[in-house]
């Protein structure tokens, strides 16, 4: 009887392990698929011609995606400039000042913000942000500025929740010690709590960047998708993700492979960001 019970436990454990590993399998399959479709063109056209090429005309055998790589980083940085201060302020308020009631109200609304589909953000961007920029600042409105604003709002929840966790994991003794030394509450936060949570906060920024780099739908709708490297805040631009989504419908042959090559570059960027973020988190844990 007892033995049978243990068997059942083992079976459940085995089945769950199998399911857990399936996510790894999906990751592996995606990797193999993207690499097998994207790598042949790197071989054929040359890595430098693709990664550092300035001209994208895939139906005329020019596969340069350098402007898109730069543009992707530009909007990601822009999103961080818009989103990070807000998110950090929000996380600090939540962990240091907010009472129980405020927390009950704020946390779920942040989660709600994270749950809104990106196409809705894009739509709001096209309907409100783009016309406002066009009328008051000039240009077509489809620009780095509008894209950064939309993405900045989109990455708020990611950055807030992770830096909130980082702030909460700072031991209460640090705060008590600082207050006992006669520091005010703000001095305590500014001089003790934030520096102690520094690596976690940096990790949250980097994960937020990963989210911004990968965002597609909202970006297509507000970025204008021009191929040139933007030279002003009001210039349109095209990111790596929007390049794939824009052109996949009609692409055949080398054009299609070029889009997969764009995917390979994107994969490398996002993987490096995640690696760096994990490194920061680890550094924090081991400290």
């Amino acid at each position: 009887m007892n033995k049978k019970f243990i068997d059942k436990e083992n079976i459940i454990k085995f089945v769950l392990a199998l399911f857990a590993l399936s996510s790894l399998l999906f990751l592996f399959v995606i990797f193999v698929f993207i690499l097998s479709e994207g790598l042949p063109l790197f071989y054929k056209a040359g890595v430098t011609n693709i990664v550092f090429g300035m001209k994208w005309a895939p139906t005329k055998a020019s596969f340069g995606i350098f402007p898109m790589i730069i543009s992707s980083f530009m909007v990601t940085f822009g999103a961080l400039v818009v989103g990070a201060p807000l998110a950090l302020a929000c996380a600090t308020y939540l962990s240091e000042y907010a009472g129980r009631k405020m927390k009950i109200f704020l946390k779920p609304s942040l989660e709600l913000l994270a749950g809104i589909p990106s196409v809705v953000y894009g739509f709001l961007g096209v309907v409100y942000i783009v016309p406002i920029i066009r009328e008051h600042l000039g240009g077509a409105g489809f620009s780095i500025l509008s894209t950064s604003l939309v993405l900045g709002i989109m990455i708020l929840p990611t950055i807030t929740s992770i830096s909130f966790d980082a702030l909460m994991s700072v031991p209460a003794a640090y705060r008590e010690g600082s207050l006992a030394m006669g520091a005010t509450k703000w001095q305590t936060i500014y001089r003790v709590v934030l520096p102690a949570a520094r690596s976690g906060i940096l990790a949250s920024f980097i994960l937020g960047m990963g989210r911004a780099v990968g965002e597609t739908m909202a970006v297509i709708m507000v970025a204008g998708n021009a191929l040139k490297i933007p030279t002003s805040l009001l210039d349109p631009l095209r990111t790596l993700t929007s390049n794939i989504a824009l052109e996949l419908a009609y692409a055949t042959g080398d054009h299609r492979r070029a889009l997969f090559s764009t995917g390979v570059v994107l994969l490398v960027i996002i993987m490096s960001l995640n690696l760096v973020a994990n490194f920061w988190v680890k550094a924090r844990v081991s400290k």
Binding site: K55, W56, A57, P58, T59, P67, V126, V130, P131, R134, G138, G139, A140, G141, F142, I220, G224, N225, A226, L227, K228, D235, P236, R238, A245, L246, E247, A249, Y250, A251, T252, G253, H255
Partner: protein
């Protein structure tokens, strides 16, 4: 012929079709069910689907399977005989000329601006200058001192392909020009931005945007039929040699009065009128 007469006829066809279920139809060439595969241009695809729906009522035993893929893919598939009919929204060239091309209708490409824009007419040359980045300001076209917000379609699109061929020629579309991925999104940008200019299929021009006349010729169905308006592309059905009997029936249906009426209702220019 009134709508009632048409619907009565359709009803008759439907009844006959229902009755003939089970017994081999006289019209179906091999006596049994058959499938016609069509693939190619995404510009032609929605219209082929519409035609296939209507065709299904007349010939319930023949299934028309419509797939996208782009003009070039459709042509290639047709050469390789993997499809019965290929769809193309551009003329054949070079090696592709081995295929038999049947023009099912024409589609005009209209240059559109916001209704508030005072510009009424533009020359082909000026269009080329705008899209190649030489003209950047509306002042040069006799309006305000304001940048032109120019919109094009994405690389690989059939509409862009036709625009490049018919308007741009050897000149390249400049990198700084905005890109949208459908007729609808280009129209949306132009409808909301008074300083924008774009090009879309004539069939999807609506009252929120205004089509410019090009070189003094208005972009209308009449002018296209009279061959006055030049930015026109053919929608082609391609077959490799003699089409199969079922494919032949479908092509005949598309070229029939009924088929052409459907295309005209969708905003395209029928071939035999």
């Amino acid at each position: 012929m009134g709508i009632r007469a048409i619907s009565r006829r359709a009803a008759c066809v439907l009844v006959v079709a229902l009755l003939s279920c089970g017994v081999p139809s006289q019209d179906a060439p091999s006596g049994g069910n058959s499938t016609v595969t069509i693939a190619g241009s995404t510009s032609v695809m929605p219209f082929s689907e519409k035609l296939a729906e209507h065709f299904k009522i007349e010939q319930p035993r023949i299934t028309v399977d419509v797939q996208a893929g782009g003009s070039s893919a459709g042509i290639q598939a047709c050469i390789n005989k993997t499809v019965d009919i290929g769809m193309s929204s551009r003329d054949l060239k070079g090696d592709e000329l081995v295929l038999r091309a049947i023009t099912i209708c024409h589609d005009g490409i209209a240059l559109i601006v916001h209704p508030r824009n005072p510009l009424k007419d533009i020359s082909l040359e000026k269009i080329r200058d705008i899209y190649s980045g030489r003209i950047k300001n509306w002042k040069e076209l006799g309006w305000k001192d304001r940048n032109i917000d120019c919109v094009t379609r994405e690389e690989g699109s059939g509409t862009r392909g036709a625009f490049e061929e018919l308007v741009m020629g050897k000149t390249e579309i400049h990198d700084s020009i905005m890109v949208q991925d459908s007729n609808g999104s280009v129209r949306e940008v132009v409808a909301t931005d008074p300083y924008a200019i774009g090009y879309i299929s004539l069939g999807v021009v609506d009252s929120r945007v205004r089509a410019l006349s090009v070189g003094g010729v208005a972009a209308t169905r009449k002018n296209i039929q009279a061959k006055k308006y030049g930015i026109v592309r053919p929608f082609l059905y391609l077959t490799s040699g003699e089409p199969s009997a079922s494919a032949r029936l479908f092509i005949d249906f598309v070229l029939s009065k009924e088929g052409q009426r459907i295309l005209k209702k969708e905003g395209l220019i029928p071939v035999n009128e």
